[in-house]
Amino acid sequence: MRRLIMRQMTDNQSGTISAIKVSGELGRRIRDMGLVPGTEVMIQGRAPLYDPVALRLKGFTLTLRNNEAEHIEVEV
């Protein structure tokens, strides 16, 4: 098991969220969408300019900006 910041994950890599290190509005939005510890995610790809990033989780696709993915820790 290795802990990574989601931003550093490569395309098609999957992992399990271990922590969300942000509070306030951003933290709440992230959690509301189902990004909570224990959730399995897969990096589906990135936009043509490498930002935002598209993730697959719980059967749907979510996009986040890189600076938002910075706050998410994933075990791979």
Binding site: S23, E25, V36
Partner: protein
């Protein structure tokens, strides 16, 4: 019986589709009081029960962060609907139930509509509806909103919930021993002092305190300051404890446990997956191509160009009908009404003014249809995804691109639907910045001005000039957006966190309703205010009329010309067919008379209030190289930019000028000693940046929720335009 039924659910869960299926054409679109969130209402008759259906904004949660969430929650709390139908996407159950759990915790009478059962099935998901209903203790009805399947059974169940008249016990979710203990402690105090318990369940209030819900916190302080302070302090203590022991916050923990609760429900054999979990879904396959690093942008460009082609090609024909109709109306009114002020008011003021606005309707309709198609299919979210990186630099959002493009980002759009397209943006600050800068784009009405000036002064580089002007508009809009985001709309970027909904084939009905709704909005908004302003502008350009001595002077000139001609020649134009060619004498006479008429028009225009304003402005506008004629044209252009060219025509004594065929005016300008390329550039720049046309200003005010922003865009844009024009003109004159 009558009942109010609220429709709640996640965005993209099929809420609007269900709403349309239930209410059909019996809907009414308005706004929630004080905000620009759309409120759709309709009725549905069910077994003699009249159900008043209210579509709540789509939300993922019921915190009070976004306007949509606040509106939805306030509606549920204040209006107390008899039942909430919570639309849940069966193919995306876990996340959708997050909102459901929050509704149940609030103790709101709920009925679940389990939508997209067909999609779930095709993905190999089997859902035990009975079990889900039993575990959550709410009725669940499987439906397929697209086809209307299961609609009756759903409404049966909803009606039964409504009959119980709000006898529901709030759901209790466990949040772990630390929080549960704190909640119980807080709950006791809240109940004892009846703290807000007339509107909310006590446990829910305690949870909201732990979540630091600003709305509840503020309400609490107003109600009972000492208890509110105690509650806040209690939360602070738990919060510190959690951070020290578990390195987390109460609100994070609450979200974790809510999702945990949902997972525990689903694990009890509610959901069964029959296919391989890692099977790539069709939608993902499409995305592999459409958001591909190289192909994606190319396809996007083609799609956007296609939208343009579609809109402008197909709206041309009905646009012609509208134009012809208003032309006919104007002619008919001219023929019936006696000459005089009333005729001038009705024909030039009302019919031309309102016609000018309503004439856009077909264009707007096609544009909205195109946008609805992109939106409903899910492609618009991909466009926002691909372009976000660029727009983020300027403090905007990927979705801003649509508003820009529709406004004329590809030259020839219209700012009115553009401003309205900014609705798809959910981030308030980004949206306001988009609204205010979209009108800088080169809309179709600015093009005749460019065409005229380019033809007159830069004829050899037409295409290049047009391209440069497009770049000028884009860079201007983006830079101003950045400036606004650094100053008056300052603030951190709203989190981008956006769902990419699966691609779906839009329903015909949905598209039609979507398109018509927005078009009707436009007609109503523009039609009412514009009438008043058209009349005012007409008055400005008409009053005061020429003094009698002047009128007589022109009259006698005409008489003089006519006296010089033989009676036969005077008769000729009136008696002859329109087709027949006039004799040389007669056409010479006609030309002379026309020359006198246009000179009279010019003199009258200069004499009018608008003319005086134009002349007065000359003392400042000379800095940018504009004389009084240009000033009047620009003042008139405030009504609609199309007016600029035709007013210039009047001011330069050319009589009626068709904006499409302005060659003679171009020649006239090119040879005029008053004009030079610097002035042309200055005028072009001014036209790009100055106050948006009236309809756009009205739309900005409505969409931004305040007339303040309408007034701002008028003054700020004009000041900016003037500054840039002066700069361009002065530098140009030096070189």
């Amino acid at each position: 019986m009558e009942a109010t039924v609220a429709l709640g659910g996640n965005p993209n869960s099929g809420k609007t589709t269900l709403f349309n299926a239930l209410t059909g054409a019996r809907q009414h679109v308005g706004n929630y009081p004080g905000v620009t969130v759309e409120k759709k209402e309709g009725t549905y008759a069910h077994n003699g029960c009249k159900m008043h259906i209210v579509d709540l904004p789509g939300t993922y949660s019921l915190t009070a962060y976004s306007v949509e969430e606040r509106v939805a929650r306030d509606f549920l709390v204040m209006e107390k609907p008899e039942v909430v139908i919570d639309i849940v996407d069966a193919s995306n159950l876990e996340r959708n139930l997050y909102l459901t759990v929050q509704l149940l915790e609030m103790g709101i009478p709920t009925c679940i509509a389990l939508n997209m059962m067909d999609v779930a099935k095709s993905r190999g998901l089997e859902i035990d509806v009975e079990k889900l209903s039993a575990l959550l203790s709410v009725p669940v009805a499987p439906i397929i909103a697209r086809t209307g399947q299961g609609k009756r059974e759903l409404m049966d169940k909803a009606a039964r919930v409504a009959e119980k008249k709000g006898e529901t016990t709030p759901l209790v979710v466990s949040y772990g021993s630390d929080l549960d203990q704190a909640i119980l402690q807080m709950q006791r105090e809240i109940e004892e002092r009846r703290f807000l318990t007339d509107i909310h369940p006590s446990r829910w209030i305690a949870i909201k305190y732990l979540e630091k819900d600003e709305q509840i916190l503020a309400k609490g302080r107003e109600t009972n300051l000492s208890l509110a302070t105690w509650l806040e302090r209690t939360v602070e203590k738990v919060s510190v404890h959690l951070q020290q022991t578990l390195d987390t916050y109460p609100e994070a923990m609450i979200a974790d446990y809510r999702y945990g609760h949902i997972r525990s429900v689903l694990k009890q054999d509610v959901i069964r997956e029959t296919y391989d979990k890692d099977r790539v879904q069709t939608s993902d396959k499409i995305d592999k191509v459409l958001t591909n690093r190289f192909l994606g942008p190319i396809i996007m460009l083609l799609v956007l160009m296609g939208l343009y082609q579609f809109t402008f090609t197909y709206s041309e024909i009905p646009l012609g009908w509208f134009e012809a109709f208003f032309g006919w109306l104007g002619d008919a009114a001219s023929a019936i009404l006696p000459d005089g002020l009333l005729k001038s008011l009705i024909v030039s003021g009302i019919i031309d003014g309102v016609g000018g606005v309503l004439g856009f309707v077909p264009l707007i309709m096609f544009m909205f249809l195109g946008i609805a198609l992109l939106e409903d299919s899910g492609y618009l979210a991909r466009v926002a995804f691909m372009l976000d990186r660029v727009f983020m630099i300027f403090g905007l959002h990927g979705s801003s691109v649509m508003a820009y493009i529709v406004s004329g980002g590809i030259a020839g759009g219209c700012a009115v639907p553009g401003v309205m397209a900014a609705r798809t943006l959910r981030s308030p600050r980004e949206r306001l910045a988009t609204l205010l800068t979209a009108p800088f784009m080169n809309c179709g009405a600015k093009l005749p001005v460019f065409a005229l000036l380019i033809a007159a002064f830069f004829a050899e580089n037409e295409a290049l000039m047009m391209f440069i002007l497009t770049l000028v508009a884009w860079s201007g809009a983006l830079i101003v957006a950045k400036l606004l985001r650094l100053t008056i709309i300052r603030g951190e970027a709203t989190p981008f966190v956006m769902e990419l909904p699966p691609y779906r084939l839009p329903t015909f009905r949905g598209l039609m309703i979507h398109t018509w709704e927005r078009t009707w909005h436009y007609i109503k908004k523009a039609g009412t205010v514009i009438l008043g302003i058209s009349v005012i502008l007409w008055a400005l350009m008409t009053f005061p009329g020429l003094p009698d001595s002047e009128v007589q002077h022109f009259e006698s000139e005409r008489d003089l010309v006519e006296a010089a001609a033989s009676p036969a020649v005077i008769q000729e134009p009136e008696s002859a067919d329109k087709e027949a060619e006039l004799s040389a004498d007669a056409s010479a006479l006609k030309e002379k008379l026309a020359a006198i008429n246009t000179e009279e028009a010019e003199t009258a225009l200069r004499h009018s209030i608008a003319g005086r304003i134009g002349t007065a402005l000359e003392s400042v506008s000379y800095l940018a190289g504009f004389d009084w004629r240009t000033n009047i044209a620009l003042v008139g252009g405030f009504a609609a930019k199309e007016v600029v060219v035709s007013t210039l025509g009047t001011a330069y004594s050319l009589g009626e000028v068709d904006p499409e065929e302005n060659e003679s005016l171009a020649q006239r300008l090119a040879s005029s000693p008053n004009w030079n390329p610097q002035k042309a550039i200055s005028l072009i720049i001014f036209t790009i940046f100055y106050a948006p046309c009236l309809v756009t200003v009205v739309c900005i005010a409505k969409e931004a929720g305040s007339w303040k922003w309408g007034a701002f865009s008028m003054t700020f844009n004009t000041a900016l335009a003037f500054g840039l024009s002066v700069l361009a003109y002065q530098i140009g004159s030096l070189i």
